[in-house]
Symmetry: C2
Amino acid sequence: MKLQQLRYLVEVENRGLNVSEAAASLFTSQPGISKQIGLLEEELGVKVFERSGKRLTGVTPAGRQVLDQARRVLREAANLLRIGADFAEGSQGQLTIATTHTQARYALPEVVRNFVARHPGVRLHVQQGSPIQVADWLINGTAELGVATEALDQHAELVTLPCYQWSHAVVVPKGHPLLLREALTITSLAEFPLVTYDATFTGRSRIDRAFERHGLTPNVVLTAIDSDVIKTYVELGLGVGIIAEMAYDPMRDAGLAALPARHLFEVNITRLGFRRDLWLRRVEYDFVELLAPQLTRGMVEATIRGGGVDPSL
Amino acid sequence: MKLQQLRYLVEVENRGLNVSEAAASLFTSQPGISKQIGLLEEELGVKVFERSGKRLTGVTPAGRQVLDQARRVLREAANLLRIGADFAEGSQGQLTIATTHTQARYALPEVVRNFVARHPGVRLHVQQGSPIQVADWLINGTAELGVATEALDQHAELVTLPCYQWSHAVVVPKGHPLLLREALTITSLAEFPLVTYDATFTGRSRIDRAFERHGLTPNVVLTAIDSDVIKTYVELGLGVGIIAEMAYDPMRDAGLAALPARHLFEVNITRLGFRRDLWLRRVEYDFVELLAPQLTRGMVEATIRGGGVDPSL
DNA sequence: ATCCTTTACGCCCCGCGTAACCATC
DNA sequence: GATGGTTACGCGGGGCGTAAAGGAT
């Protein structure tokens, strides 16, 4: 068995069982791949692919297991290279963080600033997407670390750790009638048209749940994935905004007033996530500790070993 | 990077950093190993071994990580072969069960009988040792499955699942004064010389704890790893025996009388254990289900994924 | 008829073995 | 000097490329 053979297997599946395409993407010849796959199947004593004549038409049950396992072997082998890169002096490498708009815009800048100051040689990528995309990128290896409030804890492949918690805030144009009320209630909120996040973003699930618990149907007139878009439309008078509290800046958002809404919605916990079987370099541990000082290297390692039972805030 | 190179690395460490010995044990040449290790170190950009001149004198910090990771890669690669063997038709393979005397003698025979009837082609090995040995054998790959009451749950590498529970029983020669007492108490037991298991065997820890809780110091005059030895000496009148209840057979042990001791000692839970990262073949799942019917394939798989949090009895 | 895989074949790299050399104890 | 590791070098297997053949749609 050779690692090459496993790469061939996996790439053939990734390319929809098209050996020629796999060959092209690996910059090698198509017969070479066919040959090696044949040899591996012979060594294992099992056909990985179903064939009708000479076409590959599917994956056998055994092949399913073999392919999954092959990916695992390759991931562990890739970790070896990461270990090398981490310890090799001089080499700096790069680090990709997957995250959502809210985190990228309001929580991470300070972290990133500190990180690049400490690691001037590391090329840092911040890749922005939906929470689901963030989880996918972690799983398929596009990004090493993910920061998001939603979706990360839905995957057994990922370890997640609580970073910090935050609440929603209600934002309205200056002079809005809500500002005259004594106390902000969920019922009074439901009287107004609302502007808030898209379904899978930034604690939206908790917003919906709060209304649901009171038997209210909120009138959401606009959803965005982006606090700035929400604030813009609130300022235009389209409705009352519900955003993450850290997205309100009294200076910058001078046309708006914010009302704390901690008592209306469940607290949100923003989580750090990464593949359980990813070997973390020092840069990753460093970034994590800058992001959330309580997540020391020892803490994180204990959680990885401990089977994902994290010490929730 | 080649799998061979990883094997070389690991074998050199296993042989105490002696390349020549490693070469001999792998049936290859010593210069070949030196060369390949050098190439790998170059590829990783990191020295794995410390050298004083030409001798290997130690493992660098990076090398420690590399070696651990190399073993992981090789284990996952070995799993691929297991998958092949499991699905390949005709091939039967072998299965090694590590266990203690008590289990091997009293609990497993029925299981083994059923197993060999169902899998006549599988070569079944039952390897007997101390609970600590059982755990070691599982960790180093000597055995696939382990069955023991002690020690297995001390290791993060192992998944353990409860199989069945049992209690201790007190055995005495016929006509012994204890038989005249109304109720068997821990205090009355402490009056007599005792014969029971060795420190790390068969629930001995719970026996000690029961006396300790009552502030008693039992007079243990003989310890054995083996219920039959204990019974033999009890029959000789050396003392009162405390053994696992299933080790008493009224027919075979006609010279002895047994007193239930369920109320004196904590219940014991015999556990199944195996390496978390071992891919289990159908034969292993079959054996497990014969051993403990509640441990279906689905249950076991859920526990592996679930991070070792087992649904204790 | 076209696309794609397998078979055939030859080159060349590279892993391995032998032999010689060298360092440490 | 004995043990053990590195360097040197040549052989042989095998991985990969090109070319041709053979199924499947």
